[in-house]
Symmetry: D2
Subunit: 365 residues, 4 copies
């Protein structure tokens, strides 16, 4: 590759995640102030790369955004330029438009493309790398379920929001002798529920990795009542499922194009518990997208900044086709070919589950 | 009345509300330190009065509780001693057990009963007053819908929670071009939605007092898109309803013993908007009981303290049968006979609705 | 006056105060969307009016600023165009340059000037009104010490910051048996200290309006120790002073051009208490400008928005020369001629001081 | 050692630190629920061990304390039982009273002593271990400067407080064109300043490990002004010092028994900058003990819980004389003999300093 990088471009893809702006800021400042690169951003993720919608990224543009959630570059979900919906002869057809994107990069004089996104977005990044584009990946998943990095930014911000909600529910559960259910994000991995459950003093944590038996939850509630604790706090990941393998599809779920969006599992559990327990009122809350927005937590601001600086260092060293990552407390990198498709789920026998069990938290097993 | 009050008792009734502990603390401290009264609390609201479950309230008991949500006296919903479920001959029958309560007060030597609660709880307080009990009422409603007082504690704490959620949704709505719906409390009155909507920069506020036309919401979303704003934030009170008077009962609602608990209206609106708009993704969040718990806001700590002190001053002055209240910024009181059953709803032509409209907020009319 | 207002201008003057941006946003949105006025802002307060530094205020300009502290128009302190420092013949002389400002308004086609500021800034506003300029004032003082309005925005945001600091100090004071002193803003009026002290569970509140006797504070600390409370929290307004009238000027104060800035009184009290009490460690904290910045509180966002809308309504009604204000919970207005120079201090015998004393708070009397 | 541990005791020593209660809770719950140990606590650190002031630690005692700052066991500073001040014949003499403590442990039937504290507290723990007491250490330092563990709880809570203060100062600095100085904790190590500075968007970070040249700070302020940024945010650790080695002792410092307590360095820097720069107003804030109190952050609640559980696991395995620690993201342990006296300071050439410099932060070099 040509060492003389002059211009780099950024794009953000996939769902929202606190820390995106902090990465954009760190990349931009390091690129400009340390290496003298020019920086631009593509708006709306890959869609903007296809449509060539760019904005300049300068010290001024990235001023004041460090703590803000969202992304000043905007994002889009599920836009895959290798299988992209375009209109042809009045019909919508799917086709590979990646060459249009590569042409746009050339026209714009972009030497390196920095892609900030999750597994889907990074898969496209890898595919662009295979076609010869200089790509650097920055991992983003609020669920913290990418195997190649020990942590992703946004995760602790979401845990903070969920923990604060548990704190709030705790006082009212206790005063009013209630079972409170909080549904948090996590379709495939229960990291948010696990961390927030420990931090927020939950009595029961339900995660996709450990299917639950509702009778064990009932038992826990009754045990607590016998000890004089007439309330129970349950945190449940949206992807949690009952033990018998069978997802008891309630009418709520049937009607919905996207059951998770309707708070399927938390509400479902509430209704089922109500039929099994008549001594407590049950209430459920669905945090939804409040977990993805708002100010970025202190921890995530620092991690995002470290990722952003590291991305530019990789550019400076010409190490393209890699994704920055965190190993232990060290910033490192991994080849994009190796990171795609590897999900990191909670080990049911792992350290943190053991910690939770040690202090008496039930997983509904 | 006999001026020589020696012992007073407190109880808290109804749903949770930040500030209850602050009232308990202010009553206890003022009673003990300023007037030398003895203070006890009945646990679990009226149920504890019936069962004679008391705890002493001392300077030590109320230490460290000023800022905490919930109530150290616990509460219960819907326990009316004038129509109370008791077991007789193996059957549950409803009967008036108020004389048991009055007997308990006498046995305990309680001169005055301070009742902190909403309309239901205060109705019983009035009925005890009619039977000769020295009663002081302190109003509590998170919805701020009691006509006799300009403000109730807990309300601003709930508005803070709802506003913070709107702040969070705002960044992610903007980055991802979404319509975000936040369902907040308010079955009969839209005060929380109205205040949080103004404070949290909502584009649309839907409240029970102003039935909405979904087409006007669609229009607002499209107008914003034309102005380059590809996102819209909607705050909806749980009691909001469509204009045509007809509540379009979705399956979710049919199946549920308590539609509101399932976030009926917010989710319903999300599903209907999805069918009318295909250019935006719609997401809904139900804050639920997170609005009732957690730390009490600064404003509510002060208001609760003022109410608590005022309750004891009324006792000292022998002005029983009254409820403390706030008029403008002045603490006052009102006869319990006059305060029951008067709900304060949002005036659709009132000041705050006009303020909201002036800055471009739509009410879906 | 000519009813055909077409263009209005805003400026912000004096010290920082959360809510300034919310006023700017409300004025701009109401002016444009409701009345079709054009809106511009002068940067850096009156200095910008003199230098004719303007920026257009549009729906886009004021987007996303509702919750943010600071002012997008910037501000300057102590710039009085009626006695303004200008360079003439190489020397700095003070002269009346108000005609330059009026000329600038005319050239720019500004029909009404909305001035957001404190007593000093509003004095100039009045003086411009006397010279025939159409002026509307919006009161701003973080100390809440303007007599003409019951409340000013920013005040509750500052109280929130101070209360949160007291909450923090409380846990550490209790665990480590300490006397904690928190110095808050309030040179002439103790409103912040009084409100935060009640909300933050202070044991002692020291304010300018009630000179303190240090021996009474020592006595309070000892009384608490006798009751098993080995810690005491003191909140002190920067303008608080000892009873004997004599300000015991310590060396810290002597050396400093601005003793308050160095946390004079809080540190001074700490050092003096250390000499009188050897059983407790004393620690002091100076909150300083953290009270003026950061996000605007929910309450202040609403009040600021109400003020901003009301300012435009006054313009529409042609009621110039007035300042918007809050009376009870009603938005009103007052002639600028009447509002200048009237400070609202804490009444030592007033309601809130009585409330504080009722729950056992000492004022060091 | 005897495997049959039946009773363990806890004590907390040294300065306050969010997370102490979370450790106490995790130790107690794990000990009781998982291993059936009895648990007691000594109040006031080693002083309570000497005076035999114990309280039982039960599931009830530790209920509701997870998130609370402070320590329910109270703490004391600098009480070293190997060199303890006792009264003999009317005089205060220092002597080794460790045998009294060991006798107390025996009388109480305590098999293992869990000591939560910093370097000083752990030194005594090691000395008790040398005398045959079964000891487990849990590291505590808000400054995060213990070499044997990558992280200590409380640190991120303090960073959160400092970052929030920087956020607040940022808006007001920008609006009013000021230089803001925030003094944070860190006598020997600049970790809090470094982390908060990166997270809080500081322009200058001053830490003990990198002596500063005030002229470089002035230069930075002027550079920023040339770029149109008329404000500068400086975060300074209380232990930061000027480059010339000479600590320019100001009068403030001379007079004070403890200069740091008076905010020496932050105020000193403010005064010196004022003499070098006349274009900006300078303001300084001393966060002081607000960094040590208040609610424990999510991150610290989890880390504390992990430490507490790990301490009990060490007891169960009979691995006495060790301190739990964090290596990377793994909980581990280290012999107390090896951990004492090793301070972990910021490496001026280390990763995080490089990250900060990459995004343009100055260290005043």
């Amino acid at each position: 590759m040509d060492k003389k990088v002059k211009k780099i471009a950024l794009l953000t893809g996939g769902g929202d995640c606190p820390g995106l702006n902090a990465v954009i800021r760190a990349v931009t400042r390091t690129a400009i102030m340390k290496y003298g690169y020019e920086v631009i951003g593509y708006k709306f993720g890959y869609r903007g790369l296809y449509n060539n919608e760019t904005i300049p990224l300068t010290l001024e543009t990235v001023s004041g955004i460090l703590h803000r959630g969202g992304t000043i570059l905007y994002s889009s979900n599920k836009d895959n330029l290798f299988d992209y919906a375009v209109e042809e002869d009045g019909k919508i057809v799917k086709k590979d438009v990646s060459d249009v994107a590569i042409e746009n990069l050339k026209k714009e004089g972009v030497d390196v493309l920095v892609v900030i996104g999750g597994d889907g977005t990074l898969t496209s990044a890898r595919d662009f790398a295979r076609k010869g584009v200089n790509v650097i990946g920055v991992p983003k998943t609020i669920d913290n379920d990418l195997a190649a990095t020990d942590l992703t930014f946004g995760f602790y911000s979401a845990v903070d929001v969920a923990t604060e909600a548990l704190d709030r529910l705790h006082t009212t559960a206790e005063s009013h002798q209630r079972v409170m259910i909080l549904e948090v994000m996590g379709r495939n991995a229960g990291w948010i529920a696990l961390h927030a459950g420990i931090a927020g003093s939950a009595d029961v944590i339900l995660i996709p990795e450990i299917p639950y038996d509702i009778n064990r939850i009932v038992q826990k509630i009754k045990e607590r009542a016998r000890m004089g604790k007439f309330f129970t706090n349950i945190v449940i990941a949206e992807g949690a499922r009952p033990k018998d393998g069978e997802v008891v599809v309630s009418k709520i779920v049937e009607d919905s194009p996207d059951p998770v969006r309707l708070g399927g599992i938390g509400n479902k559990l509430a209704r089922e518990l109500e039929q099994l327990i008549d001594t407590h009122e049950i209430r459920s809350t669905v945090l939804g997208h409040t977990q993805r927005g708002g100010n970025t937590s202190t921890y995530d601001r620092i991690l995002s900044t470290r990722f952003g600086v590291a991305a530019v260092e990789l550019i400076n060293e010409g190490k393209f086709g890699n994704m920055v990552c965190l190993k232990g407390d060290t910033i490192s990198y991994e080849n994009l070919e190796k990171v795609i498709g590897h999900i990191k789920t909670v080990d049911p026998n792992g350290h943190l589950v053991q910690v939770a069990k040690s202090i008496g938290i039930s997983f509904g097993e």
